[in-house]
């Protein structure tokens, strides 16, 4: 191989790998990302069933029904609107009524109840999921310090 051919081989190999990676990334960014919505977004925008989303807000006071087994029901609110959630599993340690929470999952067709497969609560007293804090500020019910 001449010097030129060697260089060409290495460069074309590199371009092929990077090209494949770019295609994969573009494809994954189309399909594999999850949008965050507030309960108001859910009411305003039509979100189809089986679309995976993250839903964030406060756990409504006195809405948590547990102790009947592995299934837990609660309501997520941004004070303007609310969405009912069901979840099977163990809630995070800092999951409490009146506190911020993010749930991930989807609506099932023909049912207004959101089926969550993961629930994220804050992991520290000082910490509120950023998306939740912002959506609460948008609703004017933010009670933490102004940042």
């Amino acid at each position: 191989m001449t010097r030129k051919q060697k260089r060409l081989a290495i460069i074309s190999g590199g371009v092929a790998v990077i090209g494949a990676a770019v295609l994969l990334v573009l494809f994954a960014l189309q399909d594999q990302i999850v949008y965050f919505h507030s309960p108001t977004d859910i009411v305003e925008k039509q979100i189809g069933p089986d679309t995976r989303i993250r839903l964030g807000g406060l756990v409504a006071e006195k809405s948590v029904v547990r102790g009947t087994g592995t299934k837990v029901e609660f309501v997520v609110t941004d004070t303007a609107n609310e969405v009912a959630i069901t979840y099977t599993g163990i809630l995070p340690d800092l999951f409490r009524e009146g506190q911020g929470v993010i749930v991930e999952g989807a609506f099932v067709p023909g049912d207004p109840v959101f089926v969550a497969d993961s629930v994220l609560a804050k992991h520290d007293e000082n910490y509120m999921p950023k998306e939740v804090a912002e959506s609460l500020k948008a609703q004017g019910v933010w009670q933490g310090e102004e940042k």
Binding site: V17, A28, G67, T70, D93, N126
Partner: protein, 661 residues
Amino acid sequence: MIVELGHYALIMALATALLQSVLPIIGARTRDAGLMGVAPAAAIASFVLILFAFVALTVSYVTSDFSVKNVWENSHSMMPMIYKFSGVWGNHEGSMMLWLLILVFFSALVAFFGGNLPATLKSNVLAVQAWITSAFLTFVLLTSNPFQRLSPAPLEGRDLNPILQDIGLAIHPPMLYLGYVGFSICFSFAVAALIDGRIDAAWARWVRPWTLAAWTALTAGIAMGSYWAYYELGWGGWWFWDPVENASFMPWLAGTALLHSALVMEKREALKIWTILLAIMTFSLSLLGTFLVRSGVLTSVHAFATDPTRGIFILCILVAFIGGAFTLFALRAQTLSPGGLFAPISREGALVLNNLFLTTATATVLVGTLYPLVLEAITGAKISVGPPFFNLTFGPLMIPLLLAVPFGPLLAWKRGDLWAVTQRLYMAAGAALLVSLAVIYFATGAPVMAGLGIGLGVWLIAGSLTDIAMRSGVGKVALPIMWRRLKGLPRSAFGGALAHMGLGVSVIGIVAVTAFATESVVTMKPGETTVGGPFTLQFEGLKPNTGPNYTELQGRFIILRDGQPVSHLTAAKRVFTARQMPTTEAGIYTNGANQLYVALGDELPGGGVVVRVWWKPWVTFIWFGAIFMSFGGIVSLFDRRLRIGAPAKSRSPAVAVGQET
């Protein structure tokens, strides 16, 4: 008093670092030995000063001096001593102190062991280190001063976040910082070389031990963090592709690439410009990680509670250093002479392939980590990029790389023979294929991919063994000769083989746990049983218990196999008294490489409880593999070639005979 002295020491350290930033560079320009001599003295002085400040902070933690705001916020008099100690870096301010301490520790090491470096290079390296030190010291003093006092002093502290009250906090952050702050040395060497405009194979030889040391610590630190999150959070996962995890993983990927490209530069003087670029990129990614974790721009389970002014400050440091280094690179890179030539099929070619895949993979992780930020800034849409994205992008890039690994060390430098290497690897390939088929055949319901994945792990392990076997001539030469050859192999050969083997071990663990783990959520009353893998778990009941600074409700289980009790397991829900904060303590039973993992949920009326049970086959392989990798790094670090100041071993036979007789 010691607190004020600590604060004072930090200010003194800043003054020292500022001198060290300027004088040695002028000295290197004007060849003034006196000015260049400032560098090592100042580096050691800053280390002593920052060490003093760090000790001062530690003393106020250990003695529970709640008049210091930082101690009040993050400690409690009832806390066990080990957590009072490790709690020093369990918060933003204290962990910045640890960051700085490790930074100046590395500078001091260069000052101390850098006797064989050319004087101008050493001065420039230490000056660049001092730029970083000055920037971060200013940051700490202006925005994150750990020595702020409270008056009047509160009687009791607010306690350390319970999740951090674990031995993991004592090990994970120091190891992690040794890793990603350690890469600052590579960065400084790269910038110093660009300032000098001169670079050669010797440069790579000087940089390599630092890269190795940082990489080894980072590998161990990430693995430790992964295991800590696994047992502490009670979610049963060992890697979440969380932005903060990615922040430590990106420098690791780039650092791994750097480790390999520096090899080419050292042996063959090729890839010089690329290696310099990688050294800059690796530390830039470390800085980016520091920014992401501390600025509060990302939602993450690990992020510190933050304050936006800090974020902007670190962003400025980030832009100045990365921008500056890349500008310098753009100005100087073409003045560096290109190195030796090589055929695409050669050891160099294999290492280029390694670099190509590793840097592309780093880029995909970077895109996945930053895309939510960019999208939100542009369109306002909030998204999360989770495991599905990374499985689809990072995963496919790793497969060809892992397949290629065993070929690399067997190929000759300059021009290799791919066919000859393939013939040497037939045993490894056979072993991998056999294991794949066995897994597909025996594991009921195993997906074909799982079989191939485990085969890939075996391929890596068998490939590294082949490498050592070929080098020592197993089966070709008499045993004593083989033994002598084996003893004569450079330690870096063993180090590399160990690291590649560790990679294989981790791959097996990852594939096995992904494919074969089972999970169930059940309600259990005392006496009831549930199945986890080959074991049956019998619930005995809940029992309250009191620890030093918490109360807990323990769920006790008997583990049965074929109806016979084999062990016990206790999972708990703790409430930490000071913060009234609950945590989940998973119960883990390790059986061989497998683990049975139990987390407790809500208590039910009538003594029942919600229980989540995972059976995780071969899960410990994931971390054992990482231990192998770090161990490989340590073995390589003790290679004679890298021992600083050690003269090359004489090859002259006359001398060799003389030594033997």
